[in-house]
Amino acid sequence: MSNQHQWPAWEVFTQKTDGEAHEHAGNVHAPDAEMALLNARDVYGRRQEAVNIWVVPSSAITASTPDDVGPFFDPANDKMYRWPNYFKTPDGIKQI
């Protein structure tokens, strides 16, 4: 099937319990937001996985590309001081 016969894709985010962050669950095709919500409920929420669902047009998401891997993430490699466990905890501190 060619793309022009496909409905737009929507990214689905589900919240497992009240207060938790929404997590990416997958995606669905749908002609509009309301139908995307219903489809998301049927595909990702039918086994009580969720108490709340977000749907977002996939086209609204800006993603980094594989080419970005080097400049985006590698510089963190040699900067151990960005991790909290790089620093010694003073003996007097019992809890952080």
Partner: protein, 253 residues
């Protein structure tokens, strides 16, 4: 007929309508227009199986002759089935399935809403569970009716054809007999005739958004499902639905 017999009959009617519609929904499994709808229709079919099981199990307990819910569902013939005739009609196309889901779903929604107030605890409990499911079925199908009615030239024709065809089975959704009357007197069942106006409002609202023309009153109305009078389609449906249990009685997964 005592109250127990009437309640048995009442529960079997509700279960029969649910199980036959379930079979029609599940025929879409693997044939849905898109993956998401395929799953949605099977989901709704399974909701209805759950409703049917609840009411069959209660009927079997009321009857107290050692029959199980499966015995009632799979070992009765066409004339013993008491479902509404609308639900046994073939799917024909997706619009047809959605229109039926809406017309029947709205009536079932109203009936279950009233049955949550039933004086019989099992009936009110089963109704409360079913009500949530029917709320979703109505939402799902009405969204589709609006989109099909307001969609392409072809979808508009198909959805209107489905409405015109299925309209002859709408009066039957509100048909009652002495079983209902007895249970209404005992505070167990609800008066369906009092729900008709609200159903019409639900239908009018969705039809007007969808640009669907409501068939004029006074046309032919098919009735009799509750007495075992069915269209030719039910026998074919049952032969498929009951095959395994008939060929291999008591087969287990």
């Amino acid at each position: 007929m005592n109250t127990n017999d009437a309640l048995y009959t009442y529960c079997v009617r509700l279960a029969d309508t649910a199980v036959i519609l379930s079979q029609r929904f599940c025929e879409w499994c693997g044939h849905g227009p898109i993956l998401e709808e395929d799953i949605a229709m099977s989901n709704m079919g399974l909701d209805l199986i759950g409703q049917a099981r609840g009411f069959y199990a209660y009927a079997a307990a009321l009857e107290n002759k050692g029959r199980s819910e499966d015995d009632i569902a799979f070992h009765r013939n066409e004339r013993e089935f008491t479902n509404r005739c609308m639900v046994e009609q073939p799917n024909y196309d997706f619009a047809y399935t959605m229109v039926r889901s809406f017309l029947h779903g709205a009536a079932a929604y109203l009936q279950y809403r009233e049955l949550t107030k039933s004086g019989d605890e099992t009936v009110s409990g089963l109704a409360a569970k079913s009500l949530k499911e029917m709320t979703y079925h109505v939402r799902h199908s009405s969204e589709w009716l609006i989109r099909l009615g307001d969609g392409t030239d072809e979808s508009k024709v198909r959805v209107q054809n489905a409405v015109d065809d299925l309209w002859q089975f709408t009066d039957e959704l509100f048909e009652m007999d002495e079983v209902d009357q007895m249970l209404i007197r005992n505070g167990i069942a609800c008066d369906l005739t009092q729900l008709r106006q609200e159903w019409d409002q639900m239908v009018d609202e969705v039809f007007s958004k969808a640009g669907i023309t409501k068939p004029a009153p006074g046309g032919f109305q098919s009735k009799g499902g509750m007495k075992g009078m069915h269209s030719e389609h039910l026998g074919h449906l049952l032969s498929e639905m009951q095959f395994l249990q008939r060929a291999y009685p008591d087969a287990k997964w």
